[in-house]
């Protein structure tokens, strides 16, 4: 997986960064500037500047319709901005097709889980591996070219499935998994692609509390292994619990960012988001 990094206390280094929207980070892996996406009269994304720190868990929060998923779509080539520029590890991803973005090591999951229903759990995993020789049509006929690689990938897939508690379902169709299990499969599958940064769109939505804890544990240990994670989350307990940094969006804008403690105290965030949720009586 990711490069070996010296173990740092993540929260300490980021607290030195002032909680101002668009603030520069000490070691950004993803840099977004002037990213703009309009749907007819609606401005879905209008991000002036955003940097995501390497090897951190960054939470992206904001009310429904804030533009979080649209931002993910833009960053990963699933949608195209009207204008704007963004770099992943120094490389511009502008106009890059989605599959090519994934190959640079920036891999996303979907808010509505996309399990490949009529393929087995193991096949879902195997698909995700990059650099497969047998994926070339001219090699596909000759199993001797790819059989050895398949064996290696299969054992890596099984290891990952074991880690996510899905190993005993490896031969079941992914379509028979529960909603929460599909979320887990989607994360495991994304990891099979050996990303350097994961964009998780609501990884805990619709998942039972026990499974949420397990997903969060996985996310934390991924960070400790050197991965960068940007995830969309509505549950403030989860956000407070695991994120090193929080970015808050409303109506396409980034209205605030900072360490979790500074975000809950932020007036703009409370007005736009937490306030609304308090009013609903959820928290």
């Amino acid at each position: 997986m990711g490069a070996e990094l010296p173990t740092r206390e993540p929260a300490r280094t980021v607290t030195t960064i002032p909680p101002v929207p668009g603030v520069a980070k000490s070691d950004p892996i993803l840099t977004v500037s002037s990213l703009h996406r309009r749907f007819g009269g609606l401005v879905a994304v209008d991000v002036e500047h955003l940097e995501v720190e390497r090897n951190r868990i960054t939470a992206l929060i904001g009310p429904n319709g804030a533009g979080k998923t649209t931002l993910f779509n833009l960053l990963t080539g699933f949608d195209h901005p009207d204008r704007g520029e963004w770099r992943f590890d120094g490389r511009s991803l502008h106009r890059m097709p989605a599959y090519a973005v994934a190959r640079t090591g920036l891999v996303r999951t979907f808010q509505l889980t996309k399990a490949l229903a009529r393929m087995t759990v193991l096949d879902n995993m195997m698909l995700a591996a990059s650099g497969q020789r047998g994926e070339r049509l001219r090699n596909s006929l000759f199993a001797n070219v790819w059989r050895a690689q398949e064996r290696v990938l299969r054992s890596r897939a099984v290891d990952l499935l074991e880690r996510f508690g899905l190993a005993q379902m490896r031969d079941d169709y992914a379509g028979t998994l529960s909603g929460g299990q599909r979320k887990l499969l989607e994360i495991a599958r994304a990891l099979m692609a050996e990303p350097r940064m994961l964009l998780l769109d609501e990884p805990t939505a619709g998942v039972n509390p026990a499974l949420v804890q397990s997903i969060l544990q996985h996310v934390k240990s991924l960070r400790d292994e050197g991965m960068t994670i940007l995830f969309v989350e509505h549950d403030m307990d989860v956000v407070m619990g695991i994120s090193d940094w929080v970015v808050c969006m409303t109506e396409g804008w980034i209205i605030a960012e900072g360490v979790p403690a500074s975000i809950v105290a932020n007036e703009a965030v409370i007005d736009a988001y937490l306030g609304a949720r308090r009013a609903e009586g959820t928290r």
Binding site: A117, Y173, M192
Partner: protein, 329 residues
Amino acid sequence: MDIVGVLADAMRTAVGPIAAAYAIAGIGLNLQFGYTGLLNFGHVAFMLVGAYGTAITVDDGGPLWLGILVGMGAAILLGLLFGLPTLRLRADYLAIVTIAAAEVLRIVVRGGGESSFTHGVFGIQRFANSFFDANPIPGGDYGIGRLSFTQRGLWVLAVGWSVVALTAVLVALIARSPWGRILRAIREDEDAARSLGKNTFVVKLQSLVVGGAIASLAGTLLAIDRQDVRPDTYLPIVTFAIYTMVILGGPATRLGPILGAIVYWFILQFTDSFLREAIDAGWIPTSIISADDIAPVRFALVGLGLMLLMIFRPQGMFGRREEVLIDGR
């Protein structure tokens, strides 16, 4: 009622050269539709270019083998033509473009006069003599009882079913590879495949082109068997008949398209001969079904059979029931 004769008729058609040609076309469509989920509604166009590629090449003095390759090359070009503008767009665009383009192609081929290189509605005849000259089978009839074939017929069958076997093995091999895994991922959810770094556009194009090249062989086989190509053989109904066979057999199965073609032609010929005998024997009064009605009635019966199949065995003859029961949430 000569039930043995009816069954022999049905069997002869079910294993005949037309069934073999449709099985080949079905194997190509199965790659595109069954494994990849591509809605290619212009499959017959691949058969048309295969048949015409062969006939025109030989008509202009070329050897038959070259004609077969020309037909296949034309099918590859056609696949690119269908796929390049549409496969980046939503799935329905391929369906619209293929159904329209296949008809346009047929009408263009038909439109030329007798002096054009397609010979318009007159078509091209007697271009496969070298194929029949190469027949190693000694003269006479072959078969068991009422089910028999001529020396000529047996030669076409032997070659035709060999091509069926070869293409079926080819598709089975590429479909079980990692490349084939991308096909199935595209069928299930193309965005998921893209999010994992798979260049789905290229893979869809490859699937369309390979399936089309296989179908060109079906067109070539039909043309050789009849020693005749005519534009009106390649009507849209052919595409839908092939879909029927693939669905009947079970999409994304290895033997589905082959068994689908055999069963389809068996049912079609059986009902045809049976109704004819029944009318002759006076079992069915001509006021209900006359001999002229047989052709449409047998298609209605095939349709009824297909409906029953979809109700009681939606996965087709060879499909796996669990797959059908999964909803693609």
